[in-house]
Amino acid sequence: MNQTLDPVFASALRRHLVALPVERAGRARRRLAVVCGAGITAVALGGVAAATLRPAAELATPPLAAPVIVNGVGPASVVLPKAPRGATYVRIELACYDGDRCATPGGSVDGPNRPGFAKVQRDALPLTATPDPANAQQLAPADPTEGIPVDVDPGTHWRLYAVYTDRLNPTSAPLDDGRVLGIPSDQEVPDLVPALATNGKRGWIDYQLLTHRAEPTLTENGTSQAPLPVYADDGTTVIGSAEVSESNR
């Protein structure tokens, strides 16, 4: 078998794979540098200089509108509000709490249902036909006011988190305690993601409690889960709560 695998291809692929964990570790070191860098203008850690000590919420790419969180059962189309000016992508996190298939226009996560173990499909749908060199997918522009397809098996309980942004991969930023806040991207899944509290305040909610570790009660029309606390930009102060179990209409 060995001789049939192209050694040139395998070697190039291996080099790329070996670099992946190192790149991630580099990002972690940069976060640490921010944490440790109070009063220090620049700290070299693994060749990476410390960033300036601006608040994480200022460094992170802001959402262009309040994120949408809806739930449903089976294949569906989720209609979003009109994209705000400047929006070029809608970032999506589709969590499927049962079923074998969890797909959006840009990809899918397939596999058998594991109770208590959500599948999460991450996607970025372009809103314009303007070529983006950073985007390898080259999907046709989406019109979220016409609906975003949720491609799941019949009977699958799902939750969709959607947020408008002006770039394919929004920048995340570290809090003082090392947690990261921001909009999910292909490179980073933050600990805290933007959300709108029921009192109208914008803040941040726990990504894992929204998706992988949500463990909601599955209902006839979607899911049922207690509202999540919404945190201020410090990631700690609770400023409200976010409803995460609204059904898709």
Partner: protein, 191 residues
């Protein structure tokens, strides 16, 4: 992989050790490639699936569960899914895959010879049967019939109880028999 503590190596990779990730690639690249090649019967397509499978291993590292201390069952399941759903599954990596260099020296004749040497002649009826199944049964059959995993390991890789896997397996056998699929499948599953 006999001398390598794979579970520890995987933990090191997730913690940022690139060399550890490289060791896992070294250990499993050929099994994953062969699995894809059996399904696709095209060297370049199988290479694409191999690459996408390891990229998915990294992208979904938080959700990967080693089975019996090995990530190979997860890799095979993923490679199987990607092989049967190339257009969608590989879209995310298309630009990257196009940049990876390929040898031109492997002529078609040599490729054909190599395929024959390694016994990749999977019965077309079996392949057709595999593609006609739902995702779980497809993976169950692939792991057991093509990769010789015991049913217990296949069940764990797929997140099924052993009893559920055995029940699915019995249904599969009946269905394959109805489809006149050659019963070359006495399988490790029976053990």
């Amino acid at each position: 992989m006999t001398s390598l503590d794979e579970a520890a190596t995987w933990r090191k990779a997730v913690a940022g050790d690139g060399d550890a990730f490289g060791l896992l690639f070294d250990a499993h690249q050929h099994r994953v490639y062969r699995h894809a090649l059996r399904m696709l019967r095209d060297r370049h397509d199988a290479e694409d699936v191999l690459a996408a499978t390891f990229l998915e291993l990294w992208r979904r590292r938080d959700a990967v569960r080693p089975v019996d201390g090995s990530v190979l069952p997860w890799l095979l399941v993923t490679a199987g899914n990607l092989s049967l759903n190339q257009a969608r599954g590989l879209r995310r990596y298309r630009a990257f895959l196009q940049r990876l260099p390929r040898s031109e020296e492997l002529a078609a004749a040599a490729e054909t010879q190599a395929l024959a040497q390694v016994g990749l002649d999977v019965d077309p009826a079996l392949l057709a049967a595999i593609t006609s199944l739902n995702a779980t049964d497809r993976q169950l059959l692939s792991l057991v019939a093509l990769e010789d995993y015991p049913l217990r390991v296949a069940a764990e890789a797929l997140g099924l109880s052993e009893q559920a896997a055995r029940s699915r397996w019995q249904r599969l056998r009946r269905r394959l028999a109805q489809q006149h699929t050659p019963d070359s499948l006495t399988f490790a599953a029976e053990h």
